[in-house]
Symmetry: C2
Subunit: 125 residues, 2 copies
Amino acid sequence: MVKYSKQREAIKQKLIGRTDHPTAETLYAELKTEMPNLSAATVYRNLSQLEEWGEIHRIVVEGATRFDPNVQPHSHFFCRKCGAVLDMKDDVDILKQAQSNFSGKVESCTSRFYGICPECMDMNN
Amino acid sequence: MVKYSKQREAIKQKLIGRTDHPTAETLYAELKTEMPNLSAATVYRNLSQLEEWGEIHRIVVEGATRFDPNVQPHSHFFCRKCGAVLDMKDDVDILKQAQSNFSGKVESCTSRFYGICPECMDMNN
DNA sequence: TTAACTGCAAAGTTTTTGCATCCCC
DNA sequence: GGGGATGCAAAAACTTTGCAGTTAA
């Protein structure tokens, strides 16, 4: 039986609506200013729980674990200049294609794109 | 200037040709039996170096960092039953497609498929 | 010879866990 | 009141780093 908790609610609210895919530590640091008693363990526990419940997604990137409030199927773009992680629409249906050559069961797919993000492009690098 | 080292060679050889994407710890454990003096630091150092040189790839998955001797563009399948990580051919050219809707520069892409692997399918789960 | 590489151990990072306390239901 | 959730600190898991000794070129 799941009970309401101010902390979990705060964590969810802090994550919802943003697209920068913060790490647990970032969320903890930000929330700590509003809830000085908040402990890191609570943040980690709740993020794991929310993920388990399907309310958020976890993106494990080299060097960091990030969290994503967008649970719709979508892909990510990783900028090799600034490290930003951007959302990308899934334009191509590669699921069906993958399934056609595979004797297992392909249930879902996400792609990772690498390159230089629009912002870094503007800085003409 | 890069010098030959028995340890690095052993690490490379241990990784080449296998498709199970072992972790650093797995490689260390396996090599340790053949080279009792081998230290974990050496394994980590060399794996990082080999990755930097483009000789192997690192796959960061939830729960583990795995290494892949296949440096050709390819995707991975993650079995949610047994945790296996299998290689998948990239059948669809989604790079071009992604670039057409994105003002940054898309340089590369890998996809991650999730589902049940052929072996687990056979166990009729 | 000498610069790269190793082994070892210590330290670092990130996340998890044990436990007493707290607070929704 | 009872069980889930929290805070704290200790521990765990994994990886990196410092350093003295070793080895390839």
